[in-house]
Symmetry: C2
Subunit: 411 residues, 2 copies
């Protein structure tokens, strides 16, 4: 069913995502940094008194910062109390749920202007603590006791895809190579370096020469994490926050002459545990969410100009592009190998560099996708701009697809 009232994005901001530079900042401080940038991005200006509610995604604050109650924590730190605010959680899709809560708060008529966003302060724990914190997105009764970790679970998906469609790990490297190219053009990205530049840097240090990116990716410097996935198939551990400001269509013109409309939303769920799934090469949650969003927007997959998908692992981007209907089943990886998902391809995917290069502070990722689409649809994405992008889609997955939110924005 359609929404009763139009909703627009009128501003967006984000911290740079990074594993080092934010070490001294807490989650609340990161959120405020992104929120202030979002407020500054509003063309005609916005004041605190204009903001009527604040919804925030943060996956596991009680494990990272021994802190819950994140809703009032950030309304307070933003100087916005006593306005409405609470936290949404659905693992790695936590901030797309915050975004949707904001959309509903406006579409329902409750509020006119709402701030939404997400944050995760992952470096507060050592790497093994992060792996443990992430594991609560899987099924702790039935999956984790079997020794599963997320790299291991996504490795199973990669194996299933390779076998079903007769593709290889070498083919899969098209994803990180492309995303490193895009990330190198994104000043907010955690890694802003082409893979070949990384190969040259490491080669110089080690006295080795790599003849091309794949030569480097096949070397011992790209170590196996969970077979067949290697280090460059995995997104990094990151700190960061991203925020968007939403307004009812009928009040948006007060804030900007170029609001970006929320054309469609969709959100689906699936079993937490992979072993309960019918398919290991598709996420039913993503299929459900995207069909719902396309229907609300009144468009088809071919109408989308720019797509940000949840590439927590390289194989996830491939599954995403097929679940979204951008490519036929079994054609997603071929399309990436052929360059069709590159910035200058006919179906550009992850111009931001994706989770792989932009980084993946879990609770902030959905909001960061919105930030990228907002930049792209306003023609402000600099060297990674998709020319004349009018329709953008964000695809934000929780866990191994137990939840997925899809948002379609339109210029």
């Amino acid at each position: 069913m359609g929404l009763q009232r139009g909703v627009c994005v009128i501003g967006a901001g984000m911290t740079r995502f990074h594993h080092k530079i934010h070490k001294d900042k807490s989650g609340r401080e990161l959120f405020v940094e992104a929120a202030l940038e979002a407020m500054e991005s509003v063309d005609k200006g916005i004041e605190r008194k204009d903001i009527q509610a604040l919804f925030v995604g943060y996956f596991t604050p009680s494990l990272y910062e021994h802190q819950g109650h994140i809703g009032p924590l950030v309304t307070d730190w933003m100087g916005l109390t006593p306005i409405t605010g609470w936290r949404t959680e659905t693992a790695c899709a936590s901030s797309i749920a915050a975004f949707m809560t904001g959309v509903l708060a406006i579409a329902s008529g409750w509020y006119d202007v709402v701030m939404v966003g997400g944050v995760e302060k992952m470096t507060a724990l050592p790497t093994e603590g992060v792996t443990d914190a992430l594991s609560v997105a899987a099924d702790d009764d039935y999956e984790i006791p079997a020794g599963a970790t997320f790299p291991g679970l996504y490795a199973l998906l990669a194996q299933a895809y390779f076998k079903k469609y007769n593709m290889t790990w070498e083919d899969l490297q098209a994803i990180p190579i492309k995303n490193h190219h895009n990330g190198a053009l994104n000043p907010k990205a955690q890694f802003q370096e082409e893979i070949m530049d990384i190969a040259k840097r490491i080669g110089q240090r080690e006295g080795v020469t790599f003849k091309d990116p794949l030569d480097f990716l096949k070397s011992k410097y790209n170590r196996v994490i969970a077979w067949p996935l290697r280090l460059f198939d995995c997104c990094p551990i990151s700190d960061g926050a991203a925020v968007a400001i939403l307004a009812a269509e009928d009040v948006a013109k007060k804030f900007t002459d170029t609001p970006i409309r929320v054309a469609g939303i969709g959100f689906g769920t699936d079993t937490l545990a992979l072993h309960d799934r019918i398919s290991l090469t598709s996420f039913a949650s993503a299929v459900f969410a995207s069909r719902q969003a396309y229907k609300m927007a009144g468009i088809e997959p071919k109408d989308v100009d720019v797509v940000e998908v949840h590439d927590c692992f390289s194989i996830a981007e491939v599954i995403a592009t097929e679940d979204l209907g951008l490519f036929e089943r079994g054609e997603g990886l071929k399309a990436a190998v052929e360059g069709r998902t590159a910035l200058d391809g006919d179906r550009p995917v992850n111009p931001s560099g994706g989770l792989k290069c932009k980084g993946h502070p879990v609770g902030a990722t959905g909001a960061a996708m919105i930030h990228e689409l907002w930049k792209q649809l306003r023609g402000e994405a600099g060297k990674r701009q998709i020319p004349d992008a009018e329709i953008g889609l964000a695809h934000n997955v929780g866990g191994t697809g137990a939840s997925c939110g899809v948002v379609i924005l339109r210029r």
Copy 2:
């Protein structure tokens, strides 16, 4: 602003809240138990296929059950995938936020029928672990390092109230005495025993005679927890779940001839840390939330027939009744002492027995308040029924009032 579309409660269910009987059940199992009861409560029947989304409150699952991603966890366990669903968190008010998300999902036009609820599996940890888990509702950077725990923080509020209004701990005992009376009439309550019956039971065991409830409450058997609060001033640790089913007003008649309308909602925030507050005898979040809800409902405090408030500690009930405008400032405790908040008083408060006797599985509490109001407004509350109750109000607080949600229901 008003909502664009009317929303009704068409069903409600809850597990008994308890500290022992659910030991072998996980959070997901408790949720399903309450959800199935809610489905069975729908007068004309409801099927799984009718339910289009599920929003769930659970405060700290990652600490209690090493489990996150609770949204899809419960849609899966209810056999409802791939429908929309995520978790809301705002400490002890987590499930009132889930309720409001459901209201917005319907009022916005997104969905027609939505399940909402909450759960907390607290006995998964020993008592010191529970105290630690609860502490993440306070400010971990500024409050917890000073040694604060929730009993201690509420004890400060009690001291401030006693001093400001010249009242005593003995006066305050009107709250637990009343709530134990009500709880004894509630088959879902954790404690179903009058305080005098408890006093007789303990007196027999110990060879002591107590002449009245206060005589017992002043004895060593009611030990000090955080001065001046004693054991019977504090709600217990509980396992439990509660669920409500919402439907758009225009489809509700398909499910029941006596839908209970959502007349108003409000949600406010405040600083996490008590030391940042202007007042220690009022929660600004609750004042904001209740005024917002009254305005949406088009009513005044005097119009409310039955009230469920967040009495996590006895003093909290007093502050709540004043914040809601049921009594003037400084008059709330006097009113309780005079019996005005008793079942047969002019302003009945917590007919369910409140958090003190019904129990307080944190994430389930807001939804359990909705369950009680639904029973009361349909005239199905048995021996604790408020005669001819037409308007009910739920007041659900997070932490020491850093968040508060208020819902007004109308027959």
